[in-house]
Structures are given as C-alpha cells and as structure tokens.
C-alpha cells in the first residue's frame, strides 16, 4: 500500500480496540518467566556448547602473538576462535569497528577470542588462560584536545536526526551582534551506555551451509544482511530469530560480537554454540552514546523574540564513524530569522560511538533547553512564556513547509497548569524545606517522526483466528500488543482472537525497532496487509468492498453477514503487504512534542539532588495503547533522570577506555531515584503520518527531560551547572553556606 495522501476515515478510527489501554498480550509470559530470550532456547536444538569472549586489553595497537596452548588443554574446551583461524571477515554496513579484532586492535575490550567449551564454567576458566601479547599503539582519547583539530562534519543518526557540516540561514553573526539580549554558553554531555538489562546474547546453529541465530536484536532485516556480509555467505543462508529482547535502546540495532562469535564458534565446534557478552565487557566492547561539547548562542529582542540562534557541537568517534547530531533539533525547534548550526567530528580511539535512544536530540536538548532557561532569565521572562513566544508552526529554515501537527504550546500550557508551575519562584535558591532546597524546572521535548517501509503477513483461519507475522521486534515497546490491537480492529475480532508472531527473518521485513518509528510504521504495515485481506475476503464473498464491515467476528455487507472463519473457508486466507510512503514526509515536517516539568530537592549541605515530581505532556499523534505508550514515556523520563544526575562513562585518557564498565560503577537510576511519574497525552491524530494517524513516543519522553531537571536544580540552588551529569561535586562549593 502506498501512503501518499493524508489518511481519510478508516476502520482504525472506530477505536474499538486501538487506542485503548489493553494489558500487554505477552504479559503473562513475561511475568512468569516463560518468555524465552536468546540465551534461553534450550528446546530448539540439542547439544549446545558455551562460548566465552576474551576482550582486548589495550585500546589501540596490534596483537604480536596469541598463545592458546594452555587454554586448548583446559578441561572441556572444544574450540577457540581468533582472527588467526576465523577466516576472512568483512565489516558489516552498520559497524564501525570489526566485531573480532586482530591482529589490529581498534578499541578496548574488542573481541580477540572466543573459547568454546562443554560448560559455561569451563569456557570461562579457559578464557582466562588465553595469553595475548600486544604491541600497544598510540591512541587519541581526549575529546577536548582532539576537537581543536577536528574538521566540520555533517551526519545523520539514521534515526531522524541529521545536519550538514555547517548550515546557515540569514546572517547569524550580524543579528547576534546587534541583539540587545544575548547568551553565549558552553555545555558538555558525557558518553552514555545503553546498559540494557539483557546482555547481548546469541545461539548459533549451522545446518550445512545455513546459519540460524537466535539473537537479541532490534532490527532483524539489517542484522540478517550484516551477518551475511560479515561472514561472507549469501543472505538467504542466514536466519535470525529474536522473539524477546531484554532491552536495546539502540545498543542492539546492529549485529554485535555475540552473534558473529557464536556463528564462528559453532562452525569451529561443529555443534550449536551460545554466547552471552559478559557484563563487564559490554560497555567497551559495544557501542555508546558519544560525549558532546556544545556551544549555544541566542540573541533576542527585549520583548523576548529570538532573532539569532546558533548551535555548534563537537563529538568524537573511531575512524569512519559519524558525529553525534546534537544540533539537529535546533534547526526546527524555535523561530528566528538568523540561524547557524555546525558539527565537528574528532577521531578518537575509544569504543565505537553510535545510536542510543534519541541520538542527537537527547544530548542536543540537554544543552539547548538549559540555554533557553538561561535566556528566559536574562530576559526576565518566565521560561514557559519564552518558549511559547518563540514557537513556530513552520520549518524555520523553509517557511513554506508546515509541521503536520505542532502542539508544543498546548503541551507547555497544559503542563504548567497541571504541575502547578505558578508556584515556582522566579528567584532561584529561595524555596527551602528543612535541609532541602526546592526547585521547579521546565523544558520542551522534540523528536522527529520517521516513515519507514514495513511489511506484514496477515491470515485468517477457519476458526476466525487472525495471525499476524512480521519480523518486527518487541524490545519492551509493546509491539506484540499494538500489532494485535491493529489486526483486531481491522478484522473485527477481539484481541484474544489474534496471534502475533514477531522477530523472525523468514517473515516479511518490518520497520524494526529504532528511532521511535516502530509503532507507527509496523502497525501501518499490518493495516496495509489487513486492508488487502479485507478486500480479498469481500471479493471472495461477492460483497461490495466499499461497504463491507468487519465487526464482532463477522463480515457483513448490507443485510448479509457471515462469520469471519466461515468467510475464509477451510483453507483460510493469508495475504502479505507493506506500507510504503510517498513524499508526505518531505512536504510536511513530522515531529512529536512534549512539555517536561520537574520538581527537585537539592540538599543544601551535601548537594545531592532527589527528584520529587515529574510530568510529561506529549503530543505524538494517535496513541495506539495509552498504557504501553505511557510506559515508554516514563521509562524514557527515567533514562533522562539518569543522564541528568548520574550517568557518565569515565574516560581514562591514558589507556583509552571507559573505566566504570559494569553496573555497579556506571550508575543508572534505581527505584529510590524515581518518584511517581505523570504522563498526559494530548488528544491528537495526525492523518499525514500514516493510516494509523500515529507517531512515535518511545524517545520523546527522553528528549528535554534532562534539561528540565537541570533547570529545576538551578531554580533550587541558584547555581548553574552546564556540565552533565549534575553530580553534587559540580555545585557543592557554591551552595549557600549552612550555619
């Protein structure tokens, strides 16, 4: 189905099933531990052996020699894979560094060997007997130092965030120089780790020249292609199966070492091998969100109208990598005639930087939305009012291009009302409860909506059971449930009459899970297949396709009505279709918006920050399932709390690695950090987005929330911190003196 004109009324608009807060259909499996993840496929094949990964001990250099003698002789060892015996491997399209290093080492903890043994304990013990002699090379590990010589570089997150090396509209310098009120401030965000709870894991099985991988991967079709490319085998010889994924956040968008090493290990061992990347290796072995150093300049009239805005960002990556596109949202967020964005990319020999939830916008808004708060203060304006005054309904760089929907003002106004924003003291550092300084903060959230082709197969059997098959993944997003809701709505059945089969590369290729594009596109693909199936059924029955109704398990037209199962007959009917998009994404700017409101308490003695309240008001098109969508938003707000308050990969600039590479030392929020969270979805449908009239919310909840926390801290303390995370040491000595 080609979607090239705005959607009219369609069966989804009935909202009998779609748009309702149904419990997840996979809930009973997940809550009873009976949903099998990649490493848990005991039933699919016998005789599974265990692989254990050895990571490089240096960040850059070469392997002089590897001594495997002791490891090979260790009890239970079946095979050891290194670059010496793995055969030729080709870097995948989505990888920057090789997934098996040697002799060249590109980053710390890059895989250098896989030890396969009869048991996990034996593989782990033998892995410690692999002796590697390295020649350490000189590496570049200091972002600030390397940015001084870094070239201007454009980039595209691949997730809807992109910018050229330099982008100019009007005359920024002139307008900034003549603006009566200006801000020129620098902000930094550190490297972040996805830290999903399920480590990367795969089980590899070879049958002749055909490889099947049970793996934990967000993007099945990309993964299939890159596994084939890396191993140098035809794509049709690779199958990926990924029914349950224990979190991804971008860390499982691409094939990682577990999959490739499991495949190589299984080949070497001549039997199935499963591999999980051990937690202490995850942070340096896999990808991370790169650190940024940003400069923002804003010029405005005394009345608070922005006349000049510039956002420049620098980040680093391995040779061949790309920039963190932190300036992207600034091209679209606020009005202003004179604009400048630019990005620099330094070469660093740290582990590979890549997409993490809301790449670009997450760190970009952490800076921009502090800058807006600072500017509001300079203008003597309320920060909500300042944002509203600079709203735009058109792309500020291309004014002929309108937003398909843009309800940012309503998000902010409703949020201010519901949150009790009027209670905020405009003078920071003035509200106190015992030892605690109290502050309120606001920030706007912004994230683009991406349109991606997505296919599905939908069938009905003689019992009237609807089965949807697609390679779409559910990484906790609720895909199983919203796909079932879509099919139920379209085919006129109840949710329990729908079976959803996900995550198998033998199924039609979906949009996959990334860039908050999964929900809208994958359900639109199911919609397309359902439309085709409805037409086919109507045709089979001789009904007029224009007035056929699918409801209550029946197909009806005029006075005629027949049970759905009966309509398809004993053989059932199955069709496949895809949603494909025309140029509505070009004609209109499609984005999602949020207003984030936060209340914090900062201890006046110790500087510790504790979040007391959080509210997000979101405008993101039709909400397919308010329950699972709300969970997406609160989860993202939680990740934003981590980014604001504690998350930072500490770089050892001498040895070139992230030092705090486990879950004890890379702190992410725990229960005690997160208060009750409120989410309000504005009533919005966006017919320009898709037949579902939905957009994504999974990343919107993260966008801006970090700055809202930062602004609340400033409101509490009067001390502005521009260097994330805002740990107590950054403001401790500037807090009010205690008596």
């Amino acid at each position: 189905m080609k979607f090239d004109t705005p959607a009219g009324r369609n069966p989804i608009d009935q909202l009998k099933v779609v748009g309702r807060p149904h419990d997840r259909i996979d809930g009973k499996l997940k809550t009873t531990g009976t949903a099998p993840y990649a490493y848990e496929q005991h039933d699919v094949v016998a005789n599974q052996a265990y692989g254990y990964i050895v990571g490089a001990a240096i960040a850059k250099g070469r392997i002089n020699a590897i001594d495997l003698a002791e490891a090979k002789a260790a009890p239970g060892v079946i095979a050891i894979v290194t670059a010496d015996n793995a055969g030729k491997l080709i870097k995948g399209d989505f990888n920057t560094a090789m997934l098996l290093g040697g002799p060249e080492i590109q980053h710390y903890h890059q895989t250098v060997a896989l030890v396969v043994a009869e048991t996990f304990e034996q593989a782990r013990a033998a892995a410690h007997l692999v002796r590697v002699d390295y020649a350490r090379g000189k590496g570049r590990f200091d972002l600030a130092a390397e940015l001084k010589v870094a070239p201007l570089t454009g980039g595209d997150s691949g997730e809807g965030s992109k910018a050229p090396p330099v982008d100019r509209v009007g005359d920024f310098e002139g307008a900034f120089a003549s603006a009566p009120v200006t801000l020129d401030a620098r902000y930094t965000t550190p490297d972040h780790s996805h830290a999903m709870m399920e480590p990367h894991a795969s089980l590899a099985v070879w049958e002749g020249d055909k490889l099947t991988l049970w793996t934990s991967n967000q993007m099945i079709a990309w993964g299939k292609g890159d596994v084939a490319k890396t191993l140098g085998i035809p794509k049709d010889k690779v199958r990926l199966i990924s029914p349950y994924i224990g979190g991804g956040f971008g860390g499982k968008l691409f094939v990682r070492t577990d999959a490739i090493m499991a495949a190589l290990g299984a080949k070497a061992a001549g039997r199935p091998v499963k591999v999980t990347l051990q937690r202490p290796l995850m942070i340096n072995n896999t990808t991370h969100r790169p650190a940024t150093m940003q400069r923002i300049r804003i010029g405005a009239t005394k009345a608070g109208k922005i006349t000049a805005i510039a956002h420049e960002s620098g980040s680093g990556d391995l040779p061949g990598g790309g920039p963190e596109t932190a300036v992207s949202q600034t091209k679209l967020m606020y009005a202003g005639a004179n604009r400048l964005t630019s990005m620099r990319l330094a070469v660093l020999d740290l582990p590979e930087g890549n997409a993490m939830r809301a790449p670009g916008e997450a760190p970009g808004l952490m800076a921009l939305e502090i800058a807006m708060d600072e500017m509001a203060e300079k203008l003597g304006m309320d920060p909500v009012a300042f944002r509203i005054a600079n709203d735009t309904q058109v792309d500020p760089e291309k004014p002929a291009r309108r937003f398909s929907q843009r309800q940012l003002i309503k998000c902010l106004e409703m949020g201010a009302d519901k949150f009790g924003w009027s209670a905020r003291s405009a003078t920071p550092g003035t509200r106190r409860e015992g030892q605690w300084l109290i502050g309120l903060g606001v920030a706007a959230g912004f994230r683009n909506n991406l349109l991606m082709k997505s296919a599905a197969r939908v069938g009905v059997d003689r019992k009237g059971i609807v089965t949807v098959t697609t390679d779409m993944t559910d990484i906790g997003t609720g895909s199983y449930t919203i796909i079932a809701q879509t099919a139920a709505e379209m085919m006129g059945v109840t949710l329990d009459q729908v079976v959803v089969k996900l995550g198998d590369s033998d199924s039609p290729a979906s949009a996959g899970s990334g860039g908050q594009w999964g929900a809208n596109n994958s359900t639109a693909g199911v919609y397309a297949a359902c439309v085709k199936l409805r037409d086919l059924i109507a045709q089979k029955l001789g009904y007029n396709a224009a007035d056929v109704a699918f409801a209550d398990g029946k197909v009806g037209s005029g006075n005629r009505s027949i049970a759905l199962g009966e309509a398809v007959g004993d053989a059932g009917l199955t069709v496949e279709d895809a949603i494909e998009y025309g140029d509505l994404g070009k004609k209109y700017q499609q984005s999602t918006f949020a207003g984030h409101f936060v209340e914090v308490a900062v201890n006046a003695y110790t500087g510790e920050t504790r979040i007391r309240r959080m509210l997000a008001v979101c405008a993101a098109g039709r909400i397919l399932n308010p329950k699972s969508a709300r969970s997406q938003v609160i989860g993202a707000m939680t990740m934003g709390a981590g980014a604001a308050l504690m998350e930072e990969l500490a770089v050892d600039k001498r040895f070139g690695f992230f030092v705090n590479h486990d879950l004890a030392s890379y702190e992410v929020p725990v229960h005690a950090d997160i208060p009750h969270q409120e989410v309000i979805f504005l009533d919005e449908v966006d017919p320009i987005s898709s037949p579902m009239k939905a957009k994504g919310v999974g990343e919107l909840g993260l966008c801006g929330v970090g700055a809202a926390i930062a602004n609340a801290i400033y409101n509490a303390t009067g001390v502005r911190v521009r260097d994330y995370p805002i740990t107590l040491d950054k403001h401790l000595d500037k807090l009010p003196v205690m008596t």
């Binding site: 013990a125 500490a650 107590l728």
Partner: protein, 316 residues
C-alpha cells in the same frame, strides 16, 4: 573462575585447620564479594571452606553490657535485631545504607568486614594494580579516581574501603574476635583490623593465614543520637562518596567516623573533642594531611558539609 575443591566445615577449629593445611584456601560465607571477584579471577582460591554451618549466627548479650555478634549473622538480621536498633542505631543505619536487600540477606558480619575495594582499576584485570598484582603499579593514580581515597593512601595505592557497616563498628569501638589454626583466640580492636596500604596494599587486614573471624563484639551502649549519613550519586544501591557515622550526646559531645574517603573506616579520636565546635573544626582534624586527587578533592568539602548536616540533624 578457576576450579576449586569445596568442603563444609562443622566447627571453627575444623575450618581454621583446613585453611592452614590447604594451599590457597579461602573461607566462604555469604560469598557476595568473593564470588564476584572469583568470576573475574581477581580471587582464585584452590579450595573453599564453607563456614555457614559453624553456628556463629547468634547475637548475644555480653558480660560487660555490650553485644557479641556471631560472625555469620547476616547484615539483615543484625540491622533488624531489636537490641541493635535500640542501643546501636548507627550500626543498624549503616548496614541498611549499604548494598541491597538481597545482598544484605546473604552478606555476613565477618564477610562484610573483609569486602575488598571497589576501585575500578582493581576490578579490571588488564590494568596495573598493586593491590591485585603487587609491584605492577597503581593505575588509579593519574587515572579516574573520583570514588577513591583522599587520606591514608600511599604512592602504591589510593583505593577506598567500600563498606558501611565497618564505619559504624569503628565509631562504636567494636572488637573482632578470631581463632587461628592452633585454636588460639585473639581480640583485634576494629581500629587495627584494616591496614593502610603503605607499600603492601595487597594486604587488606591484619588477619593471619587460616585465622577465622568468630564474632564481633560491641561495648556497652553509648546512648545519644545515632546518625549514619551516606552521600552518593544515586539514592540507593551505590557505594558512598562520603559517609558519616556519628553518636551525638545532648550536650553536643560525641564521636564521629567517616567512610568512603580512606583505605579503612576513618576515625581520628582527637577530632571528636571538637564536635561541640562544629563541622569545620572536626574536619580539619579528621582530614589533616589529606592528599586528594583532582577528581576527588570535593570529598574534603563534602566531609565537612555532610558532618554539618549530621550535626544539624542531631540538634533536631
């Protein structure tokens, strides 16, 4: 994890003898730190002696009006004991400030005393570390040291003792009771139990080979207000940046010990006398001679401010 043999000991004497007789043997009780380190081969015992059946899991009143805490009393049970909650509140508070509910259910009194540093370079076997591999150098010095010690360090090691319970025990002048393989018992004041690194940072405590902790004893209660204030980046399940244990009497006198800043629970008895004069005076004595790094210099300020918070709380 290297292969090891395993035995269950039935008496303290049997455990200590087995430890002396078997090369490279270790006791295991809760195992929450030992197994963590064994998986990384930072610890690699050839033989484990399970001491959980030694019946050292009682908390008893002692003759001098204090308490005798069996070595195997779990953190949870110690923190929840009615006498501890009533008379040694700072100990209860320190314990529940540490780790998680699950870990406290397994971790024992003796094992908690013996937990090793959380220095990230100690935990990364690719990196030089004098505590892990004597003579290889300290990669924390000049590296990432935000969590590490500011006082009591040496040029060989700046690792921090990570625990909370021991900070309260140090405040309370607890003693550690042990038995050696010859069956000889000894009493070690908690102040002497943990070592400063000097040139031998790989030796954490004064325990001798095969010496088994049997109990920790507390002198009679101090009265006063008991406070344990732990400061960390996230609100729970994190090691201290700084923690302050204090018992403050109604007249403003008392005592104070600090965690998160030194290779052992940090207390300077002479500083206690300055408590009525306030946090600044106490901190000056507590941290005299501190040698912070650029990353952890804030801890000096943080000790003073946290102590200020504690004294304000004590005043009510």
């Amino acid at each position: 994890m290297k292969p090891f043999t395993y035995q269950r000991a039935k008496t303290p004497a049997e455990a200590a003898t087995a430890a002396a007789r078997t090369p490279n043997a270790k006791f295991i009780a809760g195992g929450t730190n030992l197994l963590d380190l064994m998986k990384l081969q930072i610890e690699a015992p050839a033989h484990l002696i399970d001491v959980n059946a030694l019946k050292l899991d009682k908390i008893e009143d002692s003759n001098d009006g204090g308490l005798r805490i069996g070595a195997l009393v779990t953190n949870t049970n110690l923190a929840a004991d009615a006498r501890v909650r009533r008379d040694y509140g700072v100990l209860s508070r320190a314990i529940v400030a540490g780790a998680s509910g699950q870990l406290r259910n397994k971790a024992t009194t003796a094992g908690n005393l013996l937990q090793r540093t959380r220095c990230p370079y100690f935990y990364d076997t690719n990196q030089p570390c004098n505590k892990r591999q004597p003579g290889t150098g300290c990669s924390a010095i000049g590296g990432y040291s935000r969590q590490l010690a500011v006082i009591g360090t040496s040029d060989a090691c700046i690792a921090t003792y990570p625990g909370d319970m021991a900070v309260a025990l140090r405040l309370l002048d607890a003693t550690v009771q042990t038995v050696n393989p010859e069956g000889v018992a000894r009493t070690i004041p908690i102040a002497d139990f943990h070592r400063l690194p000097g040139n031998t940072p790989h030796i954490d405590t004064v325990l001798q080979r095969g010496e088994l902790i049997t109990a920790v004893t507390l002198p009679k209660p101090l009265g006063g207000t008991h406070i344990y204030r732990k400061v960390r980046d996230r609100a729970s399940y994190a090691f201290a940046l700084v923690s302050v244990a204090a018992v403050v009497q109604p007249d403003g006198t008392g005592r104070v010990a600090v965690g998160g800043i030194a290779p052992k629970p940090w207390r300077v008895e002479a500083a206690d006398a300055d408590l009525p004069r306030g946090a600044k005076a106490v901190t000056a004595k507590l941290l005299a001679g501190a040698r912070p790094t650029e990353d952890n210099a804030f801890k000096v300020t943080l000790v003073e401010r946290t102590l200020g918070a504690v004294l304000a709380e004590a005043k009510g």
